[in-house]
């Protein structure tokens, strides 16, 4: 069950990335709902992938895996979690064969028979030799994923690697491409394919005679690097939206302690899963920049709008297609309901008014700058010498509240009164935390 195995690894890596070192093996296993044995097995497998991908990593004998995974800002250009997407398991003979074929097609276009000969001549002795059918199957796969191209011409067809990008661009142009890919993968979503491309380009450029030893000098501050884990599900979900198809999944609310249940094949160990089996029609995937989290929003067959955290989705399967008219109607309804969601709240719209205070004479007005930058569709409606009033209509006040609070004493809520009172109460509690200083 390839799908399931990645669910486990995703949950696993997320927990390691978020809690960085908080738990011991036993505690991790408990929270993941797996046995310590499975935990160890998964760690072993992930370590194998990591060490193949990052050859420069030292042998981390005594070091905890979580430590290896620790995010370090100055070295953040290589996203550690990317190796998840390299984890698809493959038979030794198949990975040998595919790599041999690609290396051979790098220099010239070859026919299937030429490739077969070449492969038979270079495969390690302990691996079984491929037959023509296998090679044709490989070529079909490689063509399908766009790595090779069939040349035009008469039979027998010749195949060549499809990498004009690096062959036709000059070193300078490749540098520009590398920089662009780096920036876009780091600042936009989705980013996994961009990081994969960046990885390939980086290795290619290191092999060139003009290679400079210095690493790319780019840093991305306050980036939510674990966001790429959820991109594992993103394309399935975007695909289901495009095809207007229902999806089913086992959902684990992130608020519960256990975040994964193994699907045991041994009935002796079978136990109730704690997740909920859900079926719904996906309409929007939302990336929340405030926390670096992903949501899936859609319609439940019962008629209600449903919201899920993507990190809680496991065992996703695609279901039936719905009629275009129905989908459009649902989509329109959802879009209207979330039009004024600070994040995803579909509660009652309320007008929030906040007075923001300028930091003072001679100090650059970072408060106003930040409100303009992050205040979404809200507007500045009044300006005075020392302050200004910002107004926004939002669905409920829960989601905007942390943002307002983050300004500290640079603002005060004017309306609604309930939010104003909540703010006062919270600041009193916070003050009590520190009064004993």
């Amino acid at each position: 069950m390839a799908r399931e195995s990645f669910d486990k690894e995703i949950q696993f890596l997320r927990m390691l990335a978020l809690t960085s070192g908080a738990y011991n093996r036993q505690q991790y296993a408990e929270r993941l709902g797996i046995s310590v044995h499975t935990f160890d097995k998964t760690i072993k497998r992930l370590k194998e992938v990591v060490s193949a991908v990052h050859q420069q990593l030292p042998e981390d004998k005594g070091k905890e895996f979580a430590q290896t995974m620790r995010y370090s800002y100055m070295d953040s250009s290589d996203p550690m979690l990317l190796f998840l997407f390299r984890a698809k398991s493959l038979k030794e003979s198949e990975s040998q064969r595919l790599s041999l074929l690609l290396a051979a097609m790098q220099d010239k276009a070859l026919t299937a028979m030429e490739l077969l000969d070449l492969c038979c001549g270079s495969m390690p002795a302990d691996l079984s030799l491929p037959d023509e059918k296998t090679i044709r199957g490989d070529l079909k796969y490689l063509e399908q994923v766009g790595v090779i191209k069939k040349e035009t011409g008469a039979r027998p067809f010749r195949y060549q690697i499809h990498n004009e990008m690096v062959r036709e661009l000059s070193h300078e142009e490749l540098l520009d491409l590398y920089d662009f890919v780096d920036m876009m993968a780091s600042t936009q979503v989705p980013s996994v394919q961009g990081y994969l491309l960046r990885d390939g380009l980086k290795k290619h450029m290191a092999r060139q005679p003009e290679a400079d030893s210095a690493a790319a000098p780019f840093l991305y501050k306050y980036n939510y690097y674990s966001r790429i884990l959820d991109e594992a599900h993103l394309f399935t979900l975007l695909g289901s939206i495009r095809q207007r198809r229902m999806v089913s999944f086992l959902y684990f609310s992130p608020k519960k302690d256990t975040s994964y249940a193994s699907k045991n094949t041994n009935p002796l160990f079978e136990r109730d899963t704690e997740g909920m089996q859900e079926t719904m029609l996906p309409i929007k995937v939302i990336y929340d920049h405030q926390y670096g989290r992903w949501y899936l929003l859609g319609h439940h067959p019962g008629g209600a709008i449903r919201k899920y955290r993507i990190e809680g989705l496991t065992q996703i399967t695609l279901g039936n297609e719905v009629a275009a008219e129905l989908f459009e109607a649902r989509k329109l309804e959802l879009e209207q309901r979330i039009q004024h969601s600070w994040l995803i709240d579909t509660g009652k719209p309320v007008k929030v008014r906040v007075r923001f205070f300028h930091p003072g004479l001679g100090i650059p007005d970072f408060v106003r700058e930040r409100v303009l930058l992050q205040g979404q569709w809200g507007e500045i409606v009044e300006e005075e010498e020392n302050s200004f009033v910002y107004e926004i209509e939002v669905n409920g006040t829960i989601e905007i509240k942390p943002w307002i609070r983050s300004f500290g004493s640079s603002c005060a809520v004017l309306a609604p009164e309930k939010l104003r009172q909540e703010m006062i109460a919270e600041w009193k509690e916070i003050r009590a935390y520190y009064e004993s200083i």
Partner: protein, 267 residues
């Protein structure tokens, strides 16, 4: 599109690396095609290069992002800046520069001797900064590329460069700072949210099984303390700063002044 294609397998990857083979899949070309539609592309490439790249990905499908929405993002002021190319070259070519830039008060600082070491993009401000060492003032600087008015390469020896590099590295180390933040146990149910909010920092988390307390130690550059404080205020009563004393005093000050704004001066 399945991001777990077997072609991305780690064993294939390391074998291709050994044989010096570059491969690119239709997934990656589709992603690139999507990104080339972003306005930044026309600044990041010379027109001929952009044209050739567009031609190379012509047959590929862009990523379908119709179903994708962004919420609570800062407005993107830019993703690429014309100074990136020369500054990147200066940094990787180990050059020193003379930098002129406008300061916060609007005055121009002219021809300052500059050791540039990194280009940093802030996901919060959504713009680029140059991180550099101010040779005469012996200070680490962070200047918005928008504020740079002029730059010129400056002659120097390799020894000069190495000695400046080590000075900057020492200062960087000195400037690193940390904070200890406790999750108030009553809010352990919101642990995931709290950890997500801090996931953009270098951090260590520890858990005391007996008391059920989670403690987060954040590591950051001293210049980022304001951002750490704003994140802490963002989470409100769910977390409590344990260290440093300075941050605790700042939190007390924020709470007291904020209450003052509501006319709640007295305790």
């Amino acid at each position: 599109m399945n991001p777990f294609e077997k072609i991305f397998n780690y064993q294939i990857l390391s074998r291709l690396e050994d044989s010096g083979t570059f491969m690119i899949t239709t997934h990656e070309r589709g992603w690139l095609k999507t990104m080339l539609e972003h306005p930044a592309a026309s600044e990041a490439f010379l027109p001929e290069t952009l044209g050739r790249l567009q031609l190379m990905v012509e047959q590929d499908q862009t990523i379908d992002r119709d179903g994708l929405l962004h919420k609570a993002a800062s407005k993107e002021s830019h993703v690429y800046h014309p100074y990136i190319r020369p500054l990147r070259k200066a940094i990787s070519g180990k050059q020193l520069l003379q930098l002129s830039f406008s300061m916060k008060d609007g005055r121009i600082s002219l021809k300052q001797d500059c050791f540039p070491y990194k280009l940093e993009y802030s996901m919060v401000k959504r713009e680029w900064y140059l991180l550099w060492y101010h040779i005469r003032n012996r200070m680490l600087m962070s200047t918005k590329l928008q504020k740079i008015t002029e730059m010129e390469p400056q002659a120097h020896t390799a020894e000069d460069y190495e000695s400046l590099a080590s000075k900057a590295a020492t200062l960087l180390k000195k400037r690193s700072s940390s904070a200890t933040i406790r999750v108030v146990p009553a809010y352990n149910g919101e642990l995931s949210r709290i950890l997500y909010a801090f996931s953009c920092f270098e951090k260590e988390v520890s858990f005391d099984e007996e008391s059920g307390e989670y403690t987060i130690r954040l590591f950051f550059s001293g210049g980022d303390i304001e951002y750490v404080l704003s994140k802490t205020r963002f989470l409100g009563k769910r977390v409590r700063v344990m260290e440093s004393g300075h941050m605790r005093r700042r939190m007390l000050e924020s709470a007291t002044k904020a209450l003052g704004r509501y006319g709640q001066e007295s305790i």
